[in-house]
Amino acid sequence: MQTVYPRLVELLARFGVPETEITLDSTFEDLDLDSLTLVEFTLCAEQEFGVKIEDDTLNRQDTLKRAAEVIEIQGAAV
């Protein structure tokens, strides 16, 4: 969590989400990521962390905390 979350925040910046708006409890919906943007974000996260995130693992109602946990469970390259 301590290493994955800050990098997720950096990734979200590429999608135009200001760091100041992001907390661990923010959902993708809160951050105005539509469904296609969430797919793009997931693909970027896979590349960034060297993990495989299956279809429907993350949805717009999931928080950044949950996303970080999913990536950690997958064995993120940190």
Binding site: D34, S35, L36, V39, E40, T42, L43, D55, D56
Partner: protein
């Protein structure tokens, strides 16, 4: 025991792209037109897809009608009057049976030639190129008219904004002739693949033996509309086209920076950009026309090639990388040095 060879090949033969034609029906549906009847807007469609408008057939116009138009233009482009075979790549044949290609061949004045359809959905043109090129390189025939033709307007659910906003009608065709490997326009290596575990991501559920085999089902029952699971398709399209293009580049010894023009299946601008970014192909090397024609499935790549050749953004000698992804799931990539061809 003597060995008899009938007409042994003196040297290897390659299929060479020698003609290029395209046709879209005159009717245009803009995003604003769609917004009149669906819960959508020009801004929503543009942001999610990059599409501004699509061409739609008038009532009574079928896939073969578009295919004949594009096929005639490809023949004219090559100053040819006929081919030894006609191959149609389509998701929307005139009828479930028979194939559309024989009728198109006859209407083009080529009754008697080999003619068949390729059903690989949006990958159909690349699969068709591989099959057509192989017919030539195996010396079964000396020329093939390959046409990608679609009338998606006939299979779209008019109430489904996700598909109605994306797809359009159109046809693109190439004439392939026998030539030498290495010459401009020679069709070379391919990377082709499929993953049937994703069958249900892109499909028309009804109308086939799966539905009709169910007790109580009759031909004509529900499920005749095209369906697509957008987010999952977005993901698979991005990954599969990237991986396929990378495999092809490795096989032919090109680096991403060698690619002068990148022609990806015109599915969605965001998918094209994501694939190009992953490959490392700069944005100004992309060929994009889906803003004007939408996603025309098996017709998308030849339509994009024809538009780009016509406006001068595709020039002889350029290294062209082509990749596609479609229902099946299927995907494929190929590359060629662009020939000196004038599209019609």
């Amino acid at each position: 025991m003597s060995k008899v060879l009938l007409d042994p090949p003196a040297m290897s033969t390659a299929a060479v792209l020698s003609g290029l034609g395209s046709w879209v029906p005159p009717g245009v549906v803009t995003n604003d037109d769609l917004a009149q009847r669906l819960d959508t807007s020009d801004d929503w469609i543009r942001r999610r897809t990059g599409i501004r408008q699509r061409h739609i057939c008038d009532p009574g116009v079928a896939t073969s009608d578009l295919a004949v138009e594009a096929g005639q233009r490809a023949l004219k482009s090559a100053s040819a009057s006929r081919a030894d075979a006609v191959v149609i790549a389509t998701t929307t044949p005139d009828r479930p049976c028979p194939a559309t290609a024989p009728e198109v061949a006859s209407r083009l004045g080529m009754s008697g030639v080999a003619a068949f359809d390729v059903a690989s959905v949006c990958s159909g043109f690349v699969y068709g190129l591989a099959v057509s090129g192989s017919l030539i390189s195996a010396r079964v025939v000396d020329s093939v008219l390959l046409i990608g033709a679609e009338t998606y307007s006939t299979i779209l659910d008019p109430t489904d904004r996700a598909t109605a906003a994306v797809f359009g009608d159109g046809a693109g065709a190439v004439l392939l002739r026998a030539g030498q490997p290495g010459e401009l326009g020679a069709i070379g290596e391919f990377d082709l693949g499929s993953d049937g575990t994703g069958t249900e991501l892109i499909m028309i559920p009804g109308g086939g033996s799966r539905q009709r085999s169910m007790p109580g089902q009759q031909p004509g029952d529900s499920g005749q509309y095209f369906t697509m699971q957008g987010s999952a398709v977005f993901r698979h399209a991005t990954q599969r086209m990237t991986e396929s293009a990378q495999a092809l580049l490795k096989r032919i010894g090109w680096e991403a920076h060698d690619v002068d023009r990148f022609v990806a299946h015109q599915a969605n601008r965001r998918i094209i950009d994501a694939v190009a970014c992953r490959l490392g192909v700069p944005e100004d090397h992309l060929i994009v026309n889906l803003d004007r024609v939408g996603n025309t499935a098996a017709a998308s790549i030849p339509l994009a090639l024809a538009d780009a050749a016509a406006d001068g953004s595709l020039r002889p000698g350029q290294r062209v990388l082509i990749t596609a992804f479609g229902g099946g799931l299927t995907w494929g990539s190929t590359a060629l040095l662009w020939p000196d061809v004038t599209p019609c």
